[in-house]
């Protein structure tokens, strides 16, 4: 024990589309990483809130010094405050919150809630996205195709998971009427409609929520204000009551989900979201991003195709995977991190990014494109 140091192996997570030679990040502030290799890089990939936000850090520091985790035996004021605030800011009708330690766990919880609503049904329909290795019978339909969606929602389907804007294969804004059609199809079949807002939620698209129509909305790391891992779902009260109200409170709960420190982070983040113009910032900088991406399309015809932007979410398509990897690599050398999804490059800066950082990052991408042979 302990002496076999040479066989110890750390699996570094495979990076989810980050540049392979990013190396160790030694610090993060605003929307910028400090790199062990020297220098810094603007983060246009991580999504989330931003780094070292002083108000979130101060709120978490205070709670950390008081009671970081809960006893789970007593009432928790940070928890009560956080769920009330999240419900208040959520679309009308979404009233009951479940807090946990990641967006993936929140999505899992939302699917479990839906299964509890229709226990005898066995199939989950997802629009072009497989939720993290879930042990669930899944049927996948192409994103944006309302007809396929209607057809897939048979009586055996207990839930539909859909992103209001697709973010897993570049950015795809659905055709008008798609989300309404999803709502109508679920109303008809009784399936629970789950909006995966882990990327789009809390301001990124220029609205607090990209969509106000689901039965359950799922949020991810943005809620933790870049300080603590956090996920949450917010559900309709009637749906939650039907599954959980008359049963033991431990039917779905976790020891650390909704812990006081995370709730302090969420409260600070939600306060900033309500009081500062975070969505306005996303809209304004989203327009800047859109202009940059359009310009890239015009300047590099035959190389940069399909520039799309929806608030602070964007993507461009390159000729092939090799191109995309080379441009991503060179962009890092030029001082910015973009995310690669196949032959697409996705742009997902932290919400609190400022104009100069965004311009610097996108200029790095432009230089990288210009340097390709």
């Amino acid at each position: 024990m302990g002496s076999v140091v040479d066989t110890q192996r750390v699996v570094r997570p495979p990076g989810r589309g980050y540049p392979p030679d990013l190396g160790i990040v030694t610090g993060a502030h605003g929307a910028t990483f400090d790199l062990a290799a020297g220098g810094s890089a603007v983060d246009l990939a991580g999504g989330g809130w931003g780094y070292g936000d002083p108000l979130v850090v101060a709120a978490v520091a205070a709670q950390l010094a008081r009671l970081p985790l809960s006893t789970r035996s007593f009432l928790s004021r940070p928890l009560a405050d956080a769920v009330r605030r999240l419900a208040e800011l959520s679309p009308p009708g979404l009233d009951v919150c479940y807090l946990c330690n990641s967006g993936a766990e929140a999505l899992d919880g939302a699917i479990k809630l839906a299964k509890g609503r229709h226990p005898r049904r066995r199939t989950l329909v997802t629009a072009s996205r497989l939720p993290h290795h879930l042990p669930v019978t899944q049927r996948t339909v192409p994103y944006g195709d309302a007809g396929a969606l209607r057809e897939a929602l048979t009586r055996d389907v207990f839930a539909l998971v859909v992103e209001p804007v697709l973010t897993t294969a570049g950015v795809v804004v659905p055709p008008p009427g798609y989300l309404v059609a999803a709502r109508e199809a679920c109303d008809r079949s009784g399936a629970v409609l789950i909006a995966d807002e882990t990327v789009t939620g809390l301001g990124r698209t220029g609205e607090r929520f990209a969509w106000s129509g689901p039965d359950v909305a799922v949020f991810g790391s943005t809620l933790g204000g870049g300080v603590l891992p956090l996920g949450a779902y917010v559900a309709r009260k009637r749906l939650n009551d039907r599954v959980y109200r008359h049963r033991t409170p431990v039917l779905h709960a976790s020891t650390t989900g909704g812990n006081p420190a995370s709730c302090a982070a969420a409260l600070a983040t939600l306060a900033l979201l309500a009081e500062r113009d975070v969505t306005g910032n996303a809209r304004r900088l989203g327009a800047v991003l859109a202009a940059w991406l359009d310009e890239l399309g015009r300047s590099f015809p035959g190389v940069v195709a399909d520039p799309v932007a929806a608030g602070l979410l964007g993507s461009v398509t390159l000729p092939d995977v090799g191109w995309a990897a080379a441009v991503q690599q060179e962009t890092l050398r030029q001082g910015a991190v973009v995310l690669r999804q196949g032959r697409m490059l996705a742009i997902r800066p932290p919400l609190r990014i400022r104009r100069p950082e965004l311009d610097r990052g996108l200029a790095a991408l432009r230089t990288a494109l210009a340097k390709q042979p």
């Binding site: 066995r122 709960a253 812990n259």
Partner: protein, 446 residues
């Protein structure tokens, strides 16, 4: 208080709001060492330790200092972005984990770590489908973990699930042997059964199951979420029988009660031939906590503190005192206490009914001691837990024992059979009208 309950009722969990209202639960505020303080200023000796997360007590100064410094400078990055603290922690952990459990995958919660372990097991035994777990076991409540959750009432509302599992009585080697076949992926066990009962298996049980698994070609996954980091008197409970599982899950106590975190350890012998695609199936997407520099440095500091304070040895010593003391009190109240269970500072008393547990928990609270409520409304004879921080002193143990004796003496004034009869209603408490419950609570528990 009313505002808080209203928040719970409308926006969180109506059934939890009901439970807390009836129990007139205090509002937690802060703590120090073994003492927890409520908002109203009342102090409680914490013999629940948040079901184990406060293994180092509240606000351990070493971990707190490191965590605050890290928070002030660099709290974290998105998951998937490499940082040095994660590697340092994995090396730390691999250094104290038994045998060839050398690869560590981080998760945000115990249940997320169980999910990773199950993915790893399925990846290691392709073509096999069935899991074996213990009846009454507890491994978390996310969808895949739910399939191996041995408490039927927590699983049933969501069944049928997608993962095939067989449940065997805990502690019975022959039952495990009978459940194994060529389709078995893994056996998943807690070294000591938690989940409302607290059952210490007969000596040699884990070693015998490990041997059966080897012969059946399936994996042994041990869930040390509750037992890890010294709680039972050794760093990990499996060490007592020299068992090195194929996969092991740890969580509570990992960050000294500062940040949520869990980890799944994979033995070299399991992953020897895995290629990158297999690792990706098991470890991707990385849990959000992988990016938390704060959680990683807190965990490294906590592990160092467990070693520096020699907490496993302390737990063995103080655990002996606690168990002996519980036995003495139990002997004085045979009508209420059926048995004393435990090892090290994972201890409890088996009570005659769920309502008796509830009543004692409340009476202990009145006397300034917070014990670990089993939260299992379907357990016929639940075990009330005595789970103090591992830094607990002999004087504090004696204080808790005196409070227990006092609580049981007070309880003895009502005939036990009244509690037994009323306990039959426990599974329906969330459907009964509130005024009736309030009355019952006042009559039996106040």
């Amino acid at each position: 208080m009313t505002g808080l309950l209203d928040g719970y009722e409308r926006h969180y969990s109506p059934s939890l709001a009901r439970l807390f209202e009836l129990a007139r639960c205090p509002v937690e505020h802060t703590g120090a060492g073994t003492v927890l303080e409520a908002e109203d200023g009342r102090r409680y000796l914490d013999f629940s330790a948040g079901y184990g997360v406060f293994a180092l007590g509240h606000l351990d100064p070493r971990v707190q200092g490191v965590a605050q410094r890290q928070l002030a400078t660099f709290a974290g990055v998105p998951p998937g972005v490499p940082h040095a603290a994660q590697e340092a922690l994995a090396t730390h952990l691999a250094g104290i984990l038994p045998g060839d459990l050398n690869t560590v995958l981080l998760a945000g919660s115990g249940t997320e770590a169980v999910e990773i372990a199950l993915r790893a097991a399925f990846a290691a035994r392709p073509g096999r489908h069935r899991l074996v777990a213990a009846r009454h076991s507890y491994h978390g409540k996310t969808l895949n973990a739910l399939a191996v959750l041995g408490q039927r009432h927590l699983r049933a509302p969501f069944e049928p699930l997608w993962t095939d599992a067989t449940f065997v009585p805990f502690g019975d080697v022959a039952a495990v042997a009978a459940a194994l076949d060529g389709d078995t992926v893994a056996v998943l066990l807690e070294p000591i059964l938690g989940g409302g009962y607290l059952v210490v298996p007969p000596g040699g049980y884990l070693a015998a199951v490990a041997d059966l698994c080897r012969r059946a070609g399936c994996l042994l996954i041990v869930d040390e979420v509750q037992t890890g980091f010294g709680r039972t008197g050794t760093m990990f409970a499996v060490e007592r029988e020299d068992v090195v599982p194929d996969l092991m899950i740890v969580s509570k106590g990992l960050t000294g009660g500062h940040v949520p975190m869990a980890a799944t350890a994979v033995a070299d012998r399991v992953a020897r031939n895995w290629d990158d695609a297999t690792w990706a199936r098991v470890a991707d997407p990385p849990a959000d906590v992988c990016g938390s520099v704060l959680a990683c440095v807190a965990a490294s500091a906590a592990i160092a503190a467990v070693g520096a304070l020699d907490l496993p040895a302390r737990a063995a010593r103080q655990g002996a005192r606690l168990l002996a003391g519980l036995a003495v009190v139990a002997d004085r109240h045979p009508a209420w206490v059926r048995s004393v269970r435990g090892r090290g500072l994972m201890a409890g008393i088996e009570l005659r009914s769920g309502l008796a547990e509830y009543a004692i928990w409340l009476r202990m609270l009145d006397r300034g001691v917070l014990t670990g409520f089993s939260t299992n409304s379907h357990a016929r004879r639940p075990v009330l837990r005595f789970f103090p921080p591992l830094i607990v002193s002999p004087v504090e143990i004696d204080e808790a024992l005196a409070a227990l004796d006092d609580a049981l003496t007070g309880l003895g004034r009502t005939p036990a059979i009244v509690y037994d009869a009323a306990a039959l209603l426990l599974p329906w408490q969330y459907r009964m009208p509130k005024p009736a419950l309030r009355l019952a609570t006042r009559l039996l528990l106040a």
